[in-house]
Amino acid sequence: MNDTAIRVRGLRKSYRDTVAVADLDLDVHRGETLAVLGPNGAGKSTTVEILSAQRPRDGGAVTVLGTDPADADRRFRSRVGIVSQNASDLLELTVGEVVRHFAAYYPSPRDPDKVIAEVGLTDQSNRKIRQLSGGQRRRVDVALGVVGNPELLFLDEPTTGFDPEARRQFWDLIRSLAADGTTTLLTTHYLDEAEALADRIAVIAAGRIRAAGTVADLVDDREATVSWRDGRRTTTAPTALVAELGDAYQGEIPDLAVTRRSLEDAYLRLIGQEVNA
């Protein structure tokens, strides 16, 4: 067993005339949380579905937990947890019934009641899924994704449609799950979500990974921009520039601001929508 949970080389997938994934390379290390960040239609869900053995691929080499997902058997599926988009099923069952039922599929599941407590639904345990809010239903999805005690968890746009407070709470839940060593692959189109949850970020656009690394790697913060009332300059030595300006103005520099490139700038540049600053 090596320290690579997922290794993808040259992955391709098309739907009729549309190319969804074009020559995609990706590595996910054991124990890390990797966010695949990209706009809608970039190929995030297709990639997750191929890696989690829910969809066949057209080409490329894929190894997930040492197995090719195209040959996924029950044992492989029992080691992987999946939280997909847009499920609206199981409405007539209660939270407790569903989580306990799903636990039965796995050889060494987690305690359903503990899982329900972890996702914060203990008080709703006897309520039908139909009676839950959107955010609570998503928590059920997460509970079903982790009740099998997976080594690898896929989260496909888990907070789309959440209000800000629900997102924050949800992030805490994901962090606590990731903290116990579960390898997590998360897709999102929210920059702040990727930044808040991931050890590393892979930016995807038009079916290809454009860059992958930590936020610092992606942002490349060697340069900063100094702007003031009468000018604006990008430099690798902003402190010296500010000192120089201080002497020139003999005191306060009017409207002084020193900014570094944000993840947003880097992201927009990577997905090919450069900001016109």
Binding site: Q54, S84, A104, G148
Partner: protein, 267 residues
């Protein structure tokens, strides 16, 4: 670590399927109580029609509706449920689980058998209470009903699974099963006796399983002289068994060739 047993998982699936079915008010009304309601209505309207030997219209209708009830809880129920489940993410979620497909189908079998038996019991109870249909007269009658139930549920479940693949979304799920079901009830001698149908319509109905299933239940539940009213003037139980068995085989082939876990619309 060993994987959970496929049979045990099938039993789990069965209990979950039953909970979902009986809690979903629409499905209970649609496929479960609707045949009983129609039997109450039609039976009460035509109960005055008494044929030879004192057999009433309500009693004949009860026998024919036993067939309708089986088709409703197997074909209509499974066909529309699967189309909905393909659309709402149920099948996608289940397919991603470490679940052998056989467990899923075992669960569906548990559902149609339990719902079908309950439906049959409800219809026969209505026949006995409302229309004085004698029930416990003959062990042979119960044996006939038993094999009719097995063959009928099997054929209609397989056809329902196959039909579900024709529905493009959950919205067309009801139509894809309810339309053929309702049409067949008219041309198979359930709502309206064979003698009243145009010849071509009765011939068309005789291609499909409902006509034979209904004939079989009339053979099981009505006195033997009533066989004269059947198209062939006999109960033709051998033929009933053959036609239903052929539909089982055909339905199985259709299922194996058409069943999909995914909706074509979700790519």
């Amino acid at each position: 670590m060993s994987m959970p047993n496929a049979m045990a998982l099938g039993a789990h699936r069965g209990s979950i399927e039953l909970k979902q079915f009986f809690r979903e008010r629409a499905s209970v009304v649609f496929t479960f109580t609707f045949p009983a309601l129609l039997l109450l209505l039609l039976g009460s309207i035509f109960d005055g029609d008494v044929s030879r030997g004192g057999v009433t219209g309500g009693q004949v209708l009860t026998a024919s509706f036993a067939a309708a009830g089986i088709v409703s809880t197997s074909f209509v129920n499974l066909g529309s449920a699967l189309a909905v489940e393909r659309d709402d993410g149920t099948l996608k979620r289940l397919r991603a689980l470490p679940m052998p497909p056989v467990s899923f189908f075992l669960g569906k079998i548990v559902l149609v058998v339990v719902a079908g038996l309950a439906e049959l019991a409800l219809l026969l109870a209505i026949g006995a209470v409302m229309f004085d249909l004698p029930l416990l007269h003959d062990p042979v009658s119960w044996f006939t009903m038993a094999w009719l139930f097995v063959l009928g549920v099997t054929a209609c479940s397989l056809l329902g699974i196959a039909a579900s693949s024709l529905a493009r979304s959950a919205r067309s799920a009801g139509a894809i099963t309810m339309v053929p079901y309702t049409v067949l009830l008219f041309i198979s001698g359930v709502y309206i006796p064979h003698q009243a149908l145009p010849g071509w319509m009765a011939d068309l109905g005789a291609v499909f399983p409902i006509k034979w299933l209904a004939q079989g239940f009339r053979a099981a539940l009505l006195p033997d002289h009533m066989a004269e009213l059947e198209p062939a003037g006999r109960w033709e139980l051998d033929r009933v068994a053959i036609v239903l068995a052929l539909w089982c085989a055909g339905g199985l082939v259709l299922c194996l060739t058409t069943f999909r876990w995914r909706s074509s619309l979700t790519r």
